[in-house]
Protein backbone atom coordinates (compact mmCIF):
# COMPACT_ATOMS: atom_id res chain seq x y z
CA UNK A 1 0.00 0.00 0.00
CA UNK A 2 1.34 3.43 -0.80
CA UNK A 3 2.20 5.56 2.20
CA UNK A 4 0.37 8.83 1.95
CA UNK A 5 1.88 10.62 4.91
CA UNK A 6 5.47 10.14 3.88
CA UNK A 7 6.34 13.54 5.26
CA UNK A 8 5.73 12.21 8.76
CA UNK A 9 8.20 9.35 8.41
CA UNK A 10 11.94 9.72 8.34
CA UNK A 11 13.13 9.15 4.84
CA UNK A 12 15.77 6.62 5.81
CA UNK A 13 13.09 4.41 7.38
CA UNK A 14 11.11 4.16 4.17
CA UNK A 15 11.91 1.21 1.95
CA UNK A 16 10.81 0.89 -1.65
CA UNK A 17 11.92 -1.94 -3.95
CA UNK A 18 12.32 -0.84 -7.54
CA UNK A 19 12.06 -4.38 -8.68
CA UNK A 20 9.78 -6.80 -6.83
CA UNK A 21 7.51 -9.60 -7.98
CA UNK A 22 5.50 -11.54 -5.38
CA UNK A 23 3.53 -14.61 -6.49
CA UNK A 24 3.73 -13.43 -10.04
CA UNK A 25 2.37 -9.98 -9.22
CA UNK A 26 4.65 -7.09 -10.03
CA UNK A 27 4.75 -4.78 -7.00
CA UNK A 28 7.72 -2.70 -8.07
CA UNK A 29 7.95 0.97 -7.18
CA UNK A 30 5.66 2.63 -4.67
CA UNK A 31 3.40 -0.43 -4.40
CA UNK A 32 6.10 -2.07 -2.33
CA UNK A 33 6.75 0.89 -0.01
CA UNK A 34 6.94 -0.03 3.65
CA UNK A 35 8.40 1.30 6.87
CA UNK A 36 11.51 -0.36 8.21
CA UNK A 37 10.69 -2.17 11.41
CA UNK A 38 12.79 -1.29 14.40
CA UNK A 39 13.44 -2.51 17.88
CA UNK A 40 14.07 0.05 20.59
CA UNK A 41 16.13 -1.18 23.51
CA UNK A 42 17.98 1.88 24.73
CA UNK A 43 15.25 3.65 26.66
CA UNK A 44 16.35 6.33 29.08
CA UNK A 45 13.80 5.82 31.79
CA UNK A 46 14.85 8.99 33.59
CA UNK A 47 14.46 11.26 30.58
CA UNK A 48 11.02 12.63 31.44
CA UNK A 49 11.98 13.29 35.05
CA UNK A 50 15.17 15.02 33.99
CA UNK A 51 13.38 17.37 31.61
CA UNK A 52 10.58 17.92 34.12
CA UNK A 53 13.17 18.93 36.71
CA UNK A 54 14.54 21.76 34.59
CA UNK A 55 12.78 25.15 34.45
CA UNK A 56 9.92 25.09 31.95
CA UNK A 57 9.58 21.31 31.77
CA UNK A 58 7.44 20.92 34.89
CA UNK A 59 4.15 20.08 33.15
CA UNK A 60 5.35 17.71 30.45
CA UNK A 61 3.50 14.77 32.04
CA UNK A 62 0.17 16.42 31.25
CA UNK A 63 0.55 16.06 27.46
CA UNK A 64 -2.03 13.92 25.73
CA UNK A 65 -0.46 14.15 22.28
CA UNK A 66 -3.20 16.12 20.56
CA UNK A 67 -0.67 17.82 18.28
CA UNK A 68 -2.11 21.32 18.62
CA UNK A 69 1.30 22.69 19.56
CA UNK A 70 2.99 21.46 16.41
CA UNK A 71 0.01 22.51 14.35
CA UNK A 72 0.26 26.11 15.58
CA UNK A 73 4.04 26.31 15.77
CA UNK A 74 5.82 29.23 14.08
CA UNK A 75 9.05 27.33 13.48
CA UNK A 76 7.27 24.17 12.32
CA UNK A 77 5.81 26.23 9.48
CA UNK A 78 9.36 26.91 8.30
CA UNK A 79 10.81 23.48 9.04
CA UNK A 80 8.60 20.39 9.29
CA UNK A 81 11.24 18.60 11.37
CA UNK A 82 10.62 21.07 14.20
CA UNK A 83 7.95 19.07 16.00
CA UNK A 84 7.20 19.82 19.68
CA UNK A 85 4.47 17.17 19.98
CA UNK A 86 6.80 14.48 18.70
CA UNK A 87 9.65 15.50 20.99
CA UNK A 88 7.35 15.44 23.99
CA UNK A 89 6.35 11.92 22.96
CA UNK A 90 9.97 10.84 22.67
CA UNK A 91 10.86 12.34 26.04
CA UNK A 92 7.91 10.74 27.78
CA UNK A 93 8.68 7.34 26.30
CA UNK A 94 12.39 7.69 27.02
CA UNK A 95 13.51 7.45 23.38
CA UNK A 96 16.64 9.47 23.88
CA UNK A 97 18.55 8.40 20.78
CA UNK A 98 15.59 9.31 18.61
CA UNK A 99 15.38 12.71 20.30
CA UNK A 100 19.09 13.30 19.77
CA UNK A 101 18.61 13.13 16.02
CA UNK A 102 16.91 16.51 16.26
CA UNK A 103 19.25 17.98 18.85
CA UNK A 104 20.56 20.74 16.63
CA UNK A 105 17.23 22.39 15.93
CA UNK A 106 15.38 22.27 19.25
CA UNK A 107 16.93 25.55 20.42
CA UNK A 108 15.34 27.32 17.46
CA UNK A 109 12.02 27.76 19.27
CA UNK A 110 11.30 31.50 19.06
CA UNK A 111 9.18 31.62 22.25
CA UNK A 112 6.14 32.91 20.38
CA UNK A 113 3.92 30.97 22.80
CA UNK A 114 1.46 29.93 20.12
CA UNK A 115 1.75 26.39 21.45
CA UNK A 116 1.13 27.44 25.03
CA UNK A 117 -1.87 29.44 23.82
CA UNK A 118 -3.53 26.46 22.14
CA UNK A 119 -2.45 23.60 24.39
CA UNK A 120 -5.59 22.13 25.99
CA UNK A 121 -3.60 20.53 28.81
CA UNK A 122 -1.54 23.47 30.07
CA UNK A 123 1.71 21.73 29.26
CA UNK A 124 3.38 25.03 28.29
CA UNK A 125 5.28 23.38 25.40
CA UNK A 126 7.36 26.55 24.98
CA UNK A 127 8.83 25.88 28.41
CA UNK A 128 9.42 22.23 27.51
CA UNK A 129 11.39 23.35 24.44
CA UNK A 130 13.60 25.55 26.64
CA UNK A 131 14.06 22.79 29.21
CA UNK A 132 14.97 20.33 26.48
CA UNK A 133 17.48 22.69 24.87
CA UNK A 134 18.95 23.30 28.32
CA UNK A 135 19.13 19.54 28.99
CA UNK A 136 20.95 18.93 25.69
CA UNK A 137 23.58 21.49 26.65
CA UNK A 138 23.97 20.36 30.25
CA UNK A 139 24.44 16.76 29.13
CA UNK A 140 26.99 17.82 26.57
CA UNK A 141 24.96 16.61 23.60
CA UNK A 142 25.17 20.01 21.94
CA UNK A 143 27.42 23.01 22.35
CA UNK A 144 25.78 26.14 23.64
CA UNK A 145 23.45 27.44 20.96
CA UNK A 146 23.74 31.02 19.69
CA UNK A 147 20.51 31.67 21.55
CA UNK A 148 21.99 30.49 24.84
CA UNK A 149 25.10 32.60 24.26
CA UNK A 150 22.90 35.62 23.68
CA UNK A 151 20.81 34.88 26.79
CA UNK A 152 24.02 34.64 28.80
CA UNK A 153 25.55 37.89 27.57
CA UNK A 154 22.25 39.60 28.22
CA UNK A 155 21.59 38.09 31.63
CA UNK A 156 25.14 38.70 32.85
CA UNK A 157 24.65 42.38 32.22
CA UNK A 158 21.23 42.53 33.87
CA UNK A 159 22.45 40.65 36.92
CA UNK A 160 25.52 42.85 37.25
CA UNK A 161 23.98 46.24 36.63
CA UNK A 162 20.21 45.90 36.83
CA UNK A 163 19.88 47.40 33.37
CA UNK A 164 21.21 46.64 29.93
CA UNK A 165 22.84 48.72 27.26
CA UNK A 166 21.96 47.25 23.90
CA UNK A 167 25.03 48.00 21.84
CA UNK A 168 27.23 46.43 24.51
CA UNK A 169 25.17 43.25 24.34
CA UNK A 170 25.33 43.12 20.57
CA UNK A 171 29.09 43.59 20.63
CA UNK A 172 29.46 40.98 23.38
CA UNK A 173 27.33 38.49 21.49
CA UNK A 174 29.16 38.92 18.18
CA UNK A 175 32.45 38.50 19.95
CA UNK A 176 31.30 35.37 21.73
CA UNK A 177 30.02 33.78 18.54
CA UNK A 178 33.00 34.90 16.50
CA UNK A 179 30.91 36.86 14.00
CA UNK A 180 32.14 40.03 12.35
CA UNK A 181 30.29 43.18 13.36
CA UNK A 182 30.49 44.44 9.79
CA UNK A 183 27.81 42.34 8.12
CA UNK A 184 26.51 44.12 5.08
CA UNK A 185 22.92 44.35 6.28
CA UNK A 186 23.97 45.68 9.66
CA UNK A 187 26.20 48.33 8.17
CA UNK A 188 23.43 49.37 5.80
CA UNK A 189 21.16 49.76 8.77
CA UNK A 190 23.68 51.70 10.80
CA UNK A 191 24.36 53.92 7.82
CA UNK A 192 20.69 54.67 7.22
CA UNK A 193 20.33 55.46 10.89
CA UNK A 194 23.35 57.69 11.28
CA UNK A 195 22.61 59.58 8.09
CA UNK A 196 19.50 60.96 9.72
CA UNK A 197 20.30 61.11 13.36
CA UNK A 198 20.44 64.48 14.96
CA UNK A 199 23.47 65.32 17.02
CA UNK A 200 21.53 65.04 20.27
CA UNK A 201 20.57 61.45 19.58
CA UNK A 202 24.13 60.44 18.70
CA UNK A 203 25.29 62.07 21.85
CA UNK A 204 22.68 60.14 23.81
CA UNK A 205 23.83 56.86 22.25
CA UNK A 206 27.49 57.54 22.79
CA UNK A 207 26.79 58.55 26.36
CA UNK A 208 25.05 55.30 27.19
CA UNK A 209 28.03 53.32 25.85
CA UNK A 210 30.43 55.18 28.09
CA UNK A 211 28.29 55.71 31.17
CA UNK A 212 26.58 52.40 31.03
CA UNK A 213 23.11 52.47 32.59
CA UNK A 214 22.88 51.09 36.09
CA UNK A 215 20.18 50.69 38.71
CA UNK A 216 21.13 52.43 41.94
CA UNK A 217 21.85 50.23 44.94
CA UNK A 218 21.73 47.11 42.76
CA UNK A 219 24.58 45.27 44.45
CA UNK A 220 22.39 43.42 46.97
CA UNK A 221 19.99 42.28 44.27
CA UNK A 222 22.97 41.06 42.26
CA UNK A 223 24.26 38.97 45.14
CA UNK A 224 20.82 37.54 45.88
CA UNK A 225 20.37 36.48 42.24
CA UNK A 226 23.85 34.98 42.01
CA UNK A 227 23.31 32.89 45.14
CA UNK A 228 20.08 31.64 43.65
CA UNK A 229 21.78 30.71 40.35
CA UNK A 230 24.42 28.68 42.13
CA UNK A 231 21.76 26.94 44.21
CA UNK A 232 19.72 26.04 41.11
CA UNK A 233 22.74 24.95 39.11
CA UNK A 234 23.78 22.57 41.90
CA UNK A 235 20.26 21.18 42.02
CA UNK A 236 20.13 20.60 38.25
CA UNK A 237 23.53 18.92 38.14
CA UNK A 238 22.49 16.59 40.90
CA UNK A 239 19.28 15.74 39.08
CA UNK A 240 21.18 14.89 35.89
CA UNK A 241 23.85 12.96 37.77
CA UNK A 242 26.53 15.44 36.76
CA UNK A 243 27.57 16.16 40.33
CA UNK A 244 29.71 13.06 40.83
CA UNK A 245 33.26 13.81 39.73
CA UNK A 246 34.06 10.09 39.22
CA UNK A 247 31.34 9.41 36.69
CA UNK A 248 32.58 10.08 33.19
CA UNK A 249 30.44 13.04 32.26
CA UNK A 250 29.68 13.09 28.57
CA UNK A 251 31.97 15.47 26.72
CA UNK A 252 33.19 17.02 29.92
CA UNK A 253 34.97 19.71 27.97
CA UNK A 254 31.70 21.29 26.97
CA UNK A 255 30.93 23.89 29.57
CA UNK A 256 27.29 24.01 30.45
CA UNK A 257 24.60 26.63 30.21
CA UNK A 258 24.90 28.24 33.62
CA UNK A 259 28.57 27.87 34.38
CA UNK A 260 29.58 31.19 32.85
CA UNK A 261 27.00 32.94 34.95
CA UNK A 262 28.21 31.11 38.01
CA UNK A 263 31.80 31.98 37.20
CA UNK A 264 30.74 35.56 36.81
CA UNK A 265 29.13 35.25 40.22
CA UNK A 266 32.24 33.97 41.89
Amino acid sequence: MPIHEKSLIREENIRTRDDLVIDGVDVSGHWSTFIESRVVTDYNEDLEDQIAGLPGGENIHRCWQCGSCTNSCTVNALNADFNPRYWIYLIRTGMESELLRDKDIIWQCVSCNKCTYVCPREVAPEGVMKATAHWLELMGHTPKSPSTLFDEVFSEQVIKRGKIEESGIIRGFFKKTGQPLMQNWLTTMAFRLFKKLPFGMMFHMAKSTIFRPKTKGWRKSQLAIEDYIIEQDTKHRKLLGLDKPTSPTPQASNDNATSTLVEAAE
Partner: protein, 317 residues
Protein backbone atom coordinates in the same frame (compact mmCIF):
# COMPACT_ATOMS: atom_id res chain seq x y z
CA UNK B 1 -19.40 49.23 38.14
CA UNK B 2 -17.81 51.66 40.56
CA UNK B 3 -14.50 50.09 39.64
CA UNK B 4 -15.04 50.89 35.98
CA UNK B 5 -15.91 54.50 36.75
CA UNK B 6 -12.90 55.10 38.92
CA UNK B 7 -10.68 53.26 36.47
CA UNK B 8 -11.26 56.02 33.97
CA UNK B 9 -9.77 58.59 36.27
CA UNK B 10 -7.12 56.27 37.57
CA UNK B 11 -5.43 55.94 34.21
CA UNK B 12 -5.03 59.69 33.83
CA UNK B 13 -2.06 59.52 36.14
CA UNK B 14 -0.03 56.31 36.09
CA UNK B 15 3.43 55.01 36.90
CA UNK B 16 5.46 54.74 33.70
CA UNK B 17 7.90 51.88 33.10
CA UNK B 18 9.81 52.58 29.89
CA UNK B 19 12.25 49.64 30.16
CA UNK B 20 15.72 49.31 28.63
CA UNK B 21 14.76 49.16 24.96
CA UNK B 22 13.00 52.50 25.19
CA UNK B 23 16.23 54.03 26.39
CA UNK B 24 18.10 52.54 23.43
CA UNK B 25 16.86 51.36 20.03
CA UNK B 26 13.27 52.16 20.94
CA UNK B 27 13.96 55.75 22.00
CA UNK B 28 11.45 57.08 19.47
CA UNK B 29 8.73 54.99 21.09
CA UNK B 30 9.54 56.56 24.45
CA UNK B 31 9.60 60.07 23.01
CA UNK B 32 6.36 59.63 21.12
CA UNK B 33 4.59 57.96 24.06
CA UNK B 34 5.50 60.83 26.36
CA UNK B 35 4.56 63.41 23.70
CA UNK B 36 1.15 61.83 23.10
CA UNK B 37 0.52 61.65 26.85
CA UNK B 38 1.42 65.29 27.26
CA UNK B 39 -0.79 66.34 24.37
CA UNK B 40 -3.70 64.44 25.91
CA UNK B 41 -3.13 65.84 29.38
CA UNK B 42 -2.14 62.48 30.88
CA UNK B 43 0.51 62.34 33.58
CA UNK B 44 3.34 59.81 33.55
CA UNK B 45 5.46 59.28 36.67
CA UNK B 46 8.51 57.24 35.73
CA UNK B 47 9.04 54.27 38.09
CA UNK B 48 11.81 55.25 40.47
CA UNK B 49 15.16 53.53 40.09
CA UNK B 50 13.74 50.80 37.90
CA UNK B 51 15.63 47.77 36.58
CA UNK B 52 15.38 45.56 33.49
CA UNK B 53 12.38 43.17 33.49
CA UNK B 54 14.50 40.36 32.03
CA UNK B 55 13.18 40.77 28.47
CA UNK B 56 13.06 37.49 26.50
CA UNK B 57 16.41 36.29 27.75
CA UNK B 58 16.63 35.94 31.52
CA UNK B 59 13.75 33.47 31.65
CA UNK B 60 15.88 31.05 29.68
CA UNK B 61 18.46 31.13 32.45
CA UNK B 62 15.70 30.75 35.03
CA UNK B 63 12.09 32.00 34.81
CA UNK B 64 11.98 32.79 38.53
CA UNK B 65 14.82 35.30 38.21
CA UNK B 66 12.79 37.02 35.54
CA UNK B 67 9.81 37.11 37.89
CA UNK B 68 11.99 38.59 40.62
CA UNK B 69 13.25 41.32 38.25
CA UNK B 70 9.71 42.21 37.20
CA UNK B 71 8.44 42.10 40.77
CA UNK B 72 11.10 44.60 41.85
CA UNK B 73 9.80 47.06 39.24
CA UNK B 74 6.26 46.60 40.54
CA UNK B 75 7.46 46.92 44.12
CA UNK B 76 9.14 50.24 43.35
CA UNK B 77 6.05 51.55 41.56
CA UNK B 78 3.91 50.67 44.57
CA UNK B 79 6.26 51.53 47.42
CA UNK B 80 8.40 54.33 46.01
CA UNK B 81 6.03 56.01 43.54
CA UNK B 82 2.86 55.14 45.49
CA UNK B 83 1.02 54.13 42.35
CA UNK B 84 -1.32 51.24 41.77
CA UNK B 85 -1.27 51.33 37.97
CA UNK B 86 1.91 50.70 35.97
CA UNK B 87 1.92 51.47 32.26
CA UNK B 88 4.51 49.69 30.09
CA UNK B 89 4.55 50.48 26.34
CA UNK B 90 7.01 47.68 25.50
CA UNK B 91 5.27 44.35 24.86
CA UNK B 92 8.15 42.49 26.52
CA UNK B 93 8.00 44.54 29.73
CA UNK B 94 4.21 44.49 29.73
CA UNK B 95 4.20 40.71 29.28
CA UNK B 96 6.78 40.10 32.00
CA UNK B 97 5.03 42.28 34.57
CA UNK B 98 1.76 40.51 33.77
CA UNK B 99 3.41 37.13 34.03
CA UNK B 100 4.98 38.07 37.36
CA UNK B 101 1.55 39.10 38.64
CA UNK B 102 0.07 35.79 37.54
CA UNK B 103 2.86 33.62 38.91
CA UNK B 104 3.00 35.43 42.23
CA UNK B 105 -0.69 34.85 42.67
CA UNK B 106 -0.81 31.27 41.48
CA UNK B 107 2.55 29.62 42.02
CA UNK B 108 3.72 29.33 45.64
CA UNK B 109 7.20 28.21 44.57
CA UNK B 110 7.70 31.41 42.58
CA UNK B 111 6.37 33.49 45.44
CA UNK B 112 8.81 31.84 47.83
CA UNK B 113 11.80 32.65 45.59
CA UNK B 114 10.69 36.23 44.97
CA UNK B 115 10.11 36.87 48.68
CA UNK B 116 13.49 35.38 49.53
CA UNK B 117 15.39 37.40 46.89
CA UNK B 118 13.56 40.62 47.78
CA UNK B 119 14.42 40.22 51.45
CA UNK B 120 18.06 39.49 50.64
CA UNK B 121 18.16 42.48 48.30
CA UNK B 122 16.74 44.63 51.07
CA UNK B 123 13.56 45.95 49.49
CA UNK B 124 9.86 45.38 50.03
CA UNK B 125 8.56 42.34 48.25
CA UNK B 126 5.76 42.87 45.75
CA UNK B 127 2.48 41.22 46.67
CA UNK B 128 0.12 40.11 43.91
CA UNK B 129 -2.79 42.50 43.56
CA UNK B 130 -0.98 45.63 44.72
CA UNK B 131 -0.78 47.07 41.23
CA UNK B 132 -2.37 46.70 37.84
CA UNK B 133 -0.13 46.52 34.76
CA UNK B 134 -1.46 48.08 31.57
CA UNK B 135 -0.14 48.59 28.05
CA UNK B 136 0.09 51.99 26.34
CA UNK B 137 -2.93 50.91 24.29
CA UNK B 138 -5.05 50.30 27.42
CA UNK B 139 -3.85 53.59 28.79
CA UNK B 140 -5.05 55.77 25.90
CA UNK B 141 -8.11 53.67 25.29
CA UNK B 142 -9.28 53.93 28.90
CA UNK B 143 -8.04 57.34 30.02
CA UNK B 144 -9.20 59.09 26.84
CA UNK B 145 -11.40 56.75 24.81
CA UNK B 146 -12.39 57.00 21.18
CA UNK B 147 -15.03 59.69 21.57
CA UNK B 148 -12.74 62.10 23.33
CA UNK B 149 -9.88 61.16 21.04
CA UNK B 150 -11.87 61.98 17.92
CA UNK B 151 -12.54 65.44 19.36
CA UNK B 152 -8.81 65.93 19.88
CA UNK B 153 -7.74 64.93 16.37
CA UNK B 154 -6.35 68.01 14.60
CA UNK B 155 -4.89 66.45 11.46
CA UNK B 156 -6.76 63.35 10.37
CA UNK B 157 -4.59 60.55 9.01
CA UNK B 158 -6.77 60.92 5.93
CA UNK B 159 -7.28 57.35 4.99
CA UNK B 160 -3.66 56.27 5.42
CA UNK B 161 -3.72 52.49 5.00
CA UNK B 162 -2.39 50.80 8.10
CA UNK B 163 -1.70 47.18 9.07
CA UNK B 164 -1.72 46.89 12.84
CA UNK B 165 0.91 44.51 14.12
CA UNK B 166 0.52 43.36 17.75
CA UNK B 167 3.11 40.57 17.90
CA UNK B 168 3.27 37.71 20.40
CA UNK B 169 3.77 39.08 23.86
CA UNK B 170 0.69 41.30 23.99
CA UNK B 171 -1.77 38.42 23.82
CA UNK B 172 0.02 35.14 24.56
CA UNK B 173 -0.31 33.08 26.61
CA UNK B 174 -3.91 33.94 27.34
CA UNK B 175 -3.95 33.08 31.05
CA UNK B 176 -1.71 35.97 32.10
CA UNK B 177 -4.22 38.50 30.68
CA UNK B 178 -7.38 37.78 32.70
CA UNK B 179 -8.95 41.11 31.67
CA UNK B 180 -8.84 40.20 27.97
CA UNK B 181 -11.52 38.17 26.15
CA UNK B 182 -14.22 39.55 28.46
CA UNK B 183 -16.70 40.42 25.73
CA UNK B 184 -17.62 43.81 24.26
CA UNK B 185 -15.21 46.58 25.18
CA UNK B 186 -12.42 44.27 26.24
CA UNK B 187 -9.35 43.36 24.21
CA UNK B 188 -9.31 40.05 22.35
CA UNK B 189 -6.34 37.69 22.46
CA UNK B 190 -7.18 36.05 19.14
CA UNK B 191 -8.12 39.20 17.22
CA UNK B 192 -6.72 42.17 19.12
CA UNK B 193 -8.25 45.48 18.04
CA UNK B 194 -7.25 48.25 20.47
CA UNK B 195 -4.63 49.67 18.10
CA UNK B 196 -7.06 49.38 15.17
CA UNK B 197 -9.68 51.27 17.21
CA UNK B 198 -7.37 54.14 18.13
CA UNK B 199 -5.86 54.59 14.68
CA UNK B 200 -9.25 54.38 12.98
CA UNK B 201 -10.37 57.19 15.29
CA UNK B 202 -7.33 59.15 14.13
CA UNK B 203 -8.49 58.77 10.54
CA UNK B 204 -6.51 55.74 9.35
CA UNK B 205 -8.03 52.92 7.32
CA UNK B 206 -7.11 49.58 8.86
CA UNK B 207 -6.45 47.00 6.18
CA UNK B 208 -7.54 43.42 6.64
CA UNK B 209 -4.28 42.04 7.98
CA UNK B 210 -4.20 38.34 8.83
CA UNK B 211 -0.83 38.33 10.64
CA UNK B 212 -1.60 40.72 13.50
CA UNK B 213 -0.31 38.32 16.10
CA UNK B 214 2.23 36.37 14.03
CA UNK B 215 5.74 36.06 15.42
CA UNK B 216 8.60 38.20 14.05
CA UNK B 217 11.24 35.95 15.59
CA UNK B 218 12.28 38.75 17.90
CA UNK B 219 13.73 36.34 20.45
CA UNK B 220 16.31 35.22 17.90
CA UNK B 221 16.79 38.43 15.93
CA UNK B 222 20.56 38.06 16.06
CA UNK B 223 21.07 34.46 17.18
CA UNK B 224 19.05 32.91 14.35
CA UNK B 225 18.82 35.71 11.81
CA UNK B 226 17.72 33.53 8.91
CA UNK B 227 14.62 32.39 10.76
CA UNK B 228 13.82 35.95 11.83
CA UNK B 229 14.26 37.27 8.30
CA UNK B 230 11.85 34.69 6.91
CA UNK B 231 9.26 35.43 9.58
CA UNK B 232 9.54 39.19 9.16
CA UNK B 233 9.40 39.00 5.38
CA UNK B 234 6.26 36.94 5.67
CA UNK B 235 4.64 39.60 7.87
CA UNK B 236 5.74 42.49 5.69
CA UNK B 237 4.65 40.84 2.45
CA UNK B 238 1.26 39.97 3.95
CA UNK B 239 0.83 43.60 5.01
CA UNK B 240 1.72 44.80 1.51
CA UNK B 241 -0.61 42.27 -0.07
CA UNK B 242 -3.37 43.63 2.16
CA UNK B 243 -2.67 47.08 0.73
CA UNK B 244 -0.94 48.62 3.75
CA UNK B 245 1.24 51.70 3.39
CA UNK B 246 2.34 51.57 7.01
CA UNK B 247 2.77 48.81 9.57
CA UNK B 248 1.93 50.22 12.99
CA UNK B 249 3.83 48.69 15.89
CA UNK B 250 3.41 48.71 19.65
CA UNK B 251 6.66 47.12 20.78
CA UNK B 252 10.31 48.20 20.39
CA UNK B 253 11.51 44.63 19.81
CA UNK B 254 8.96 43.96 17.08
CA UNK B 255 9.59 47.39 15.62
CA UNK B 256 13.35 47.10 15.35
CA UNK B 257 13.01 43.46 14.29
CA UNK B 258 10.80 44.49 11.37
CA UNK B 259 13.13 47.35 10.44
CA UNK B 260 16.27 45.24 10.65
CA UNK B 261 15.00 42.22 8.79
CA UNK B 262 13.27 44.31 6.14
CA UNK B 263 16.77 45.47 5.27
CA UNK B 264 18.27 42.03 5.74
CA UNK B 265 15.65 40.47 3.43
CA UNK B 266 16.65 42.96 0.78
CA UNK B 267 20.40 42.46 1.26
CA UNK B 268 20.49 38.72 1.83
CA UNK B 269 17.42 37.35 0.01
CA UNK B 270 17.09 40.09 -2.59
CA UNK B 271 13.47 40.71 -1.62
CA UNK B 272 12.76 44.41 -1.42
CA UNK B 273 9.63 45.67 0.30
CA UNK B 274 8.45 49.23 0.69
CA UNK B 275 5.93 49.34 3.48
CA UNK B 276 6.92 51.85 6.18
CA UNK B 277 7.18 50.84 9.82
CA UNK B 278 6.04 53.28 12.50
CA UNK B 279 5.10 53.19 16.16
CA UNK B 280 1.37 53.63 16.68
CA UNK B 281 2.19 56.50 19.04
CA UNK B 282 3.95 58.32 16.19
CA UNK B 283 0.85 58.04 13.99
CA UNK B 284 -1.41 59.06 16.84
CA UNK B 285 0.85 61.98 17.69
CA UNK B 286 0.75 63.28 14.11
CA UNK B 287 -3.02 63.14 14.18
CA UNK B 288 -3.13 64.98 17.50
CA UNK B 289 -0.98 67.76 16.11
CA UNK B 290 2.29 66.99 17.87
CA UNK B 291 5.35 68.22 15.95
CA UNK B 292 6.96 65.31 14.03
CA UNK B 293 10.33 66.06 15.63
CA UNK B 294 8.83 65.48 19.05
CA UNK B 295 7.63 62.08 17.87
CA UNK B 296 11.09 60.93 16.82
CA UNK B 297 9.90 60.13 13.29
CA UNK B 298 13.32 61.06 11.92
CA UNK B 299 14.92 58.48 14.24
CA UNK B 300 13.21 55.49 12.63
CA UNK B 301 15.42 53.32 10.43
CA UNK B 302 12.44 52.74 8.19
CA UNK B 303 12.13 56.11 6.51
CA UNK B 304 8.62 57.49 6.83
CA UNK B 305 9.29 61.02 5.60
CA UNK B 306 8.51 60.51 1.90
CA UNK B 307 5.25 58.77 2.61
CA UNK B 308 4.27 61.33 5.22
CA UNK B 309 5.07 64.23 2.89
CA UNK B 310 3.23 62.48 0.10
CA UNK B 311 0.19 62.11 2.32
CA UNK B 312 0.54 65.67 3.57
CA UNK B 313 0.89 64.42 7.10
CA UNK B 314 4.16 66.17 7.82
CA UNK B 315 2.46 69.46 8.28
CA UNK B 316 5.15 71.21 10.26
CA UNK B 317 8.63 69.84 9.86
Amino acid sequence: MTKLLSKDKKYKRVAYYPGCALEGTGKAYDTSTRAVGKQLGLKLDEVKNWNCCGAMEVKNIDPKIQTYLSSRVLSNAVNKNKHDVVMAPCNGCYHNLKKAEYDLENDPATKEVVDRLSTKAGHKTYEAGQAETIHALDWIKDAIGEEELSRRVKHSLKGLKVANYYGCMYTRPRHIFPEKDQGPGSESTSEPHFMDDLLATAGAVNVDFPLKTACCGGAHTLSDSDTSTKLVLNIIEAAEAAGAEVIATECPTCHSGLEMHQIRAEKVLGRKTNVVIMYFTQLLGLALGVAPRKLGIHENVSDATDLMIDKRLLWAT
